[in-house]
Symmetry: C2
Subunit: 472 residues, 2 copies
């Protein structure tokens, strides 16, 4: 696929559509739009121009222009992604959704909210807390990421075990197709089986099938109380075994069951100067529950605590107020930063396996650590089998060597995950970072069906090309 | 699209694949496979042959044969559908999944279950009740329908307000594509954003994109207790207003909020000889809640009951044991049968609107009743805005007249629903019954995208043709 460069005439036409002020061609300013949260040296690509449309009509006109002129166009939210989704792989136009950041409606009767794609996810909850409502999407980047990006990546996060991922709460979308048509998928409807579920197909398609210009989300009643338990275990198996036990034996669905292996929590605690007594613990679970009242939660957390203690837990710390909850969660959230301090080069992964096989995965991870002389802390959303196994460069290795090691180790990690019935990405997406690996683990028949869908939506392959799939 | 007839040679080849015993050509026996639960006179079509494969390999071989010979093939579950989905619109092969009815695995560690498509949905729960688990899919036909059909139609039902529809619980599928390839979509993974979500695309595609040969479902902890409240209201608006109130004011998500208008509950009560004192009630809600313990539920139902009484409810009946629960639910479930007794010709619809606009929908329904001299009882899943507005023939009208009236009234009903932000089917699907109406209410650009997807999967249009879309 040969694309055309963005020439002066195109820049003028773009300025006519969105206004001169909202077209960037200055190299220094373009740099900001060349990367996301993946390592810059490896994955960044420069756009030729950035445009910032004000509404769906402008988005449509820009897309029609790009489609006619065969110029690639890459939609971009907050740039907080971890798979290269917002990076302009073949240059061309980056379309930043930052100006489309209005809350259009809070619909209390239908418990829904209508948003432009550039609304910061955390701001959604700030707007509706007083109404006794909340949005259950909860990616770890909630303070910076945009709702449009959450939809495009079908963001997961830390509350999926009870609340599911972003897609569950997306009732309707307005989308500009790769040929520039504005369509509506779904709406303020809790049920809808009228034709193929194109809304769901759009969710998680990483901006390759269209640009999201409006989002209707579903809201839930805000729980009245929440408690977190930090539970220390002697071994990984006892910790992981608790996941089905909690749900079957005591019939409680926690909001979170976060897992940390020894390497993760020790590195984080040392980095944070956290003097938690973790004694002989080899694994920790951070179990969150929420509910209508504190009284009800007290019964639930006592039940869970006792269950853990009678199944191999060493210690249960209860965090039932904001201060203690922040303290235990900071250990979990501090892990990536702690490892950056140790060695800045790493590959943050988000592999998924059936929860029950996590104990089988851990020895394989240890084997890879030894084989490649790297560290692989494992932490993340155990309740979903979704682990941030993070390949961390040995500080003594050169960068050139690291890139070779990284590729080999990733390939082997993904192969292990595939054999265990898992897949390579549970929440970050394939993007450009995992595109070539994706072909290794997915059935070619399935890949070809995905290619056909891509071609059906985007015959000229101008919409975020180079992501998920190779298209000839 | 011209199809080839099923000739003797083809029957022989089919017998070679599935065994002679599992090929039906006898006209009398074929009749059973010519219809679903839509009225026979209007929608039934005869298959030329019925085959009953034993496994995915046989399914694949039959599909490959049909694809090569250009013979249409229609997959069939229990035949309990309400949109003509299992009816062989162009004759050809009906593939009944009735022999593929094994429970393959109960995976307690991952809280999942692996099923063949022909398992009766209710049997799923019978198998896992003792493990303290349940499957949250709950179509009204649960006692007869097959899990494969539930997936193909993305069945809804009476517990969607809390638990969502079938699709939420489908973790993985094995599917035979229209070209006969066996593929796996998803798996025992709670999160998965690796490539386009073809699993979700398959769910609700009404057997037009492939034949489901294996289903992995997610299980939940079985609630320890449940209570139903039958609440009588003076008017429709007060009843519907309770839906968001319950969730925001008292922060409880009920399992069900079923609505019955006056015509519905009076006809049902009279039919059942139920001497419930409904006094001046114009609307009823049947509110179900479940939870861990009876103590917790007692607080919740008292809270909901008080809220209803202070917001226009006349009376609240509490059903907290099996006998009383059966009694109140029988009023709701008895409605269709009560109307069949009154007039056997009807069109059971499952329109969806934003819940908040139900009070605006009701006067429009009354207008249609007068305009066409028919009855349109409205009942169903108010918590989801999903109503079984049922067009019932006036017993005095001839059948020929009725068909004309039905078409006009349906077209007008769907138009009203569309203008209110709703759509024509929330759980029954488009099938053959609503195919021509679907074009009236859906954007042609969206329809064309659906057609392209259909062609990408099924280039020869042999897989359940004549459903959802017209394909040239």
């Amino acid at each position: 696929m040969k694309y055309n460069p963005v020439d002066k005439k195109t820049v003028t036409e773009l300025a006519r559509i969105v206004g001169e002020r909202w077209v960037i061609t200055d190299q220094e300013k373009l740099e900001e739009y060349s990367h996301d949260e993946t390592p810059k040296e490896q994955y960044a690509r420069m756009p030729e121009v950035v445009v910032k449309p004000a509404d769906a009509k402008e988005v449509s006109q820009v897309v029609k222009l790009a489609n006619k002129k065969l110029i690639p166009i890459t939609p971009r939210g907050a740039g907080s992604g971890l798979s290269g989704g917002a990076i302009p792989q073949f240059g061309g136009i980056v379309m930043s959704m930052e100006r489309m950041n209005r809350v259009l409606e809070i619909d209390r009767d239908n418990l829904m909210m209508v948003l432009e794609p550039g609304v910061v996810t955390n701001d959604v909850n700030d707007k509706i807390r007083d109404e006794g409502l909340f949005f259950a999407g909860y990616p770890m980047s909630i303070e910076t990421c945009f709702i449009g990006g959450n939809v495009a990546e079908n963001a997961g996060g830390g509350k999926a075990i009870k609340y599911g991922v972003t897609g569950r709460y997306i009732m309707g979308l307005e989308v500009v197709t790769p040929t520039g048509e504005i369509i509506e998928l779904g709406g303020k409807r809790v049920k809808d089986v009228s034709g193929y579920d194109l809304k769901q197909l759009m969710i998680g398609s990483e901006g390759t099938l269209g640009i999201i210009t409006k989002v209707i989300i579903k809201l839930l009643p805000l729980p009245g109380a929440s408690v977190d338990l930090l539970v220390l275990f002697r071994d990984v198996k006892s910790a992981i075994n608790m996941v089905p036990e909690i749900m079957t034996d005591v019939r409680i669905i926690p909001t979170s069951i976060e897992f940390m292996d020894e390497l993760s929590f020790k590195t984080s605690c040392e980095y944070l100067n956290e003097h938690l007594s973790y004694r002989e613990a080899k694994a920790m679970l951070l179990i969150g529950i929420d509910g209508m009242s504190e009284d009800q939660l007290e019964i639930e957390y006592e039940t869970i605590g006792e269950l853990c203690l009678s199944n191999g837990a060493i210690e249960v710390y209860v965090a039932d107020n904001h201060t203690t909850q922040e303290r235990v969660w900071s250990i979990r959230r501090g892990i990536p930063e702690a490892f950056i301090a140790y060695s800045p080069h790493m590959s943050i992964e988000d592999i998924v396996v059936p929860t029950g096989v996590i104990p089988k995965l851990m020895p394989e991870i240890e084997r890879l650590e030894k084989e490649y002389d790297i560290k692989i802390p494992c932490y993340g959303h155990a309740g979903d089998g979704n682990l941030h196994a993070t390949l961390v460069k040995n500080p003594d290795t050169t960068l050139a060597e690291w890139y070779k090691i990284e590729e080999k180790a990733l390939r082997e990690l993904y192969s292990v995950v595939g054999k265990l019935g898992g897949t390579i990405s549970g929440e970050h997406g394939i993007g450009s970072k995992r595109r070539d690996y994706f072909k290794d683990v997915e059935d070619p028949v399935v890949i070809e069906l995905m290619r056909k869908i891509k071609r059906a939506f985007d015959p000229n392959n101008i919409m975020n090309p180079g992501k998920i799939l190779d298209i000839e």
